[in-house]
Amino acid sequence: MTSFLQQAFNGLVSGGFYALLALGLAVIFGMLRVVNFAHGALYMLGAFGAVVLSDSLGLGFWWALLIVPLVLAAAGMLVERLLVHRLAALDPLYNFLLTFGIALVCQDLMRMKYGSHSQPYAGAPFPGSLDLGLFTFPTYQVFVLCVAAVVCLAVWLLLTRTRIGTVVRAATERPETTRAFGIDTGRWVTPVFGFGAGLAALAGVLAAPMRAVNSSMGADLIIIVFAVVVIGGLGSIPGAVTAGFLIGMLQALGNLYVPVLSQTSVYLLMAVVLLVRPAGLFGKEEHA
């Protein structure tokens, strides 16, 4: 029982990362119809950002948590304005190739600079473990889970309780008609892209103290996040978050009970979901 709970908790923590990343992918896809392949690279850059701030500027974790997402959100907005935007009118495949290319460039640049081994992160907060009754758990990871949950909730409230959120949801559902209702959807595209990028960077900073920081960390993770987004339903915000936590649990418990399947379980679930509900758990069938 204890190992079950402990493993479930592990699953929730990695689910938190999946949820944060999938959330960013989902808002970007919803608003721009762009599958951002560079999302994993942003996560990786976020983690490196924390390492660099700590090593060369002596800025600790809390500064990184604030600065890195903002800087990478700004970088994301720049990329959207200068590159993604120009390809928006073409086949979505072009932006897919563009963001894939950006991901590869970022990854190789970091490998050139830091090599392929992992970077140690010195500034980890909350050392030690928390006694949760039946088992103890690293305090930092409890913190990560809380941050992920709070951020997901905040994004949900932002989308459902504010005017900007309504506009974003409307533009996600019917990009063209929304313009015909007097809303300049183009104005929101860049900020939304930046927001998604910032969320990926935030996940990266959170990962720095507990995960191996290296140039391929994003590429390894993003494949699973794509599966998460597909399972949750492309562009669906609650779908992305729920599927994120679900996959985290599935992997962790799979590891415990059926170790052979732990790597494939995600893709098995994806195949089943696609067969039963092609639009994903929370997706709606696209109307013409």
Binding site: R174, E176, A180, F181, G182
Partner: protein, 232 residues
């Protein structure tokens, strides 16, 4: 609009179409499926990319204006699928289009309260998803939504399609009410009989051209001929 042509790939769907809608005038556009009616509305709204010719609104050339600009100038769009958002509540659907400052200061006769008074069903279901309304309720929501913005011209794409006679009648009342307030309406309509109850003039569109302009008596006299022509 004057001399408007539109293309899809190589095909020309509108060929030098010119028409005009006066203040408080209801004009219908009748024609077979594929005659170019929906494309024409999309051209007026600025949603069709490949268009030549001129669209003017209140003396202003808006041919190159973005769709959201045209909406804010006073064009109200009711698309053929009604354009109701499933992910938004009825009230969010209703208040999504911004009310331009000009319309707000002149006191639009369709404030949110007024709309809820005239459509109690929308008031009752203001918190439910737009997708859970019936077809008729969705159509009323679509019309109320653009009226609330103080739009001066409505572009309605087959608002009565697939609706029960009693609902069609209600939609007729809404359109006549708008007309009384000086709102012009361009109505794409297959239901010729309904069209004569609300409209002042009718344009017959065929193969992307306006082949005939008719008034109500002409339509009534030649209803049979017209229906045959439309293939109904």
């Amino acid at each position: 609009m004057r001399g408007v042509s539109a293309h899809y790939d190589e095909a020309r769907v509108l060929d030098e179409v010119s028409l005009r809608i006066g203040e408080g005038e209801v004009v219908t556009l009748v024609g077979r499926n594929g005659a170019g009616k929906t494309t024409l509305l999309r051209c007026v709204m600025g949603l069709h990319q490949r268009m030549t010719g001129e669209v003017t609104f209140a003396g202003r050339d808006i041919s190159t204006a973005a769709p959201h600009r045209r909406a804010r100038l006073g064009l109200g769009f009711v698309p053929d699928d009604r354009g109701i958002y499933a992910g938004l509540t009825v009230e969010e659907n209703l208040t999504l289009p911004p009310v331009p400052a000009a319309a707000r200061s002149s006191g639009s006769p369709w404030s949110l309260e007024r709309i809820y008074e005239s459509f109690p069903v929308l008031a009752q279901r203001r918190r439910t998803s737009g997708a859970r309304l019936s077809g008729g309720e969705q159509q009323m929501l679509a019309l109320a939504r653009v009226l609330r913005t103080g739009a001066r011209v409505l572009l309605c794409d087959e608002p009565t399609e697939g609706l029960a006679p009693i609902v069609v009648q209600r939609i007729g009342e809404i359109i006549r009410g708008a007309k009384e307030h000086g709102v012009g309406v361009l109505l794409v309509e297959q239901n010729v009989r309904f069209a004569t109850t609300v409209a002042d003039r009718h344009y017959l569109l065929a193969q992307g051209r306006i082949v005939r302009s008719l008034d109500n008596t002409e339509v009534r006299e030649r209803e049979h001929e017209l229906l045959q022509y439309l293939g109904l």
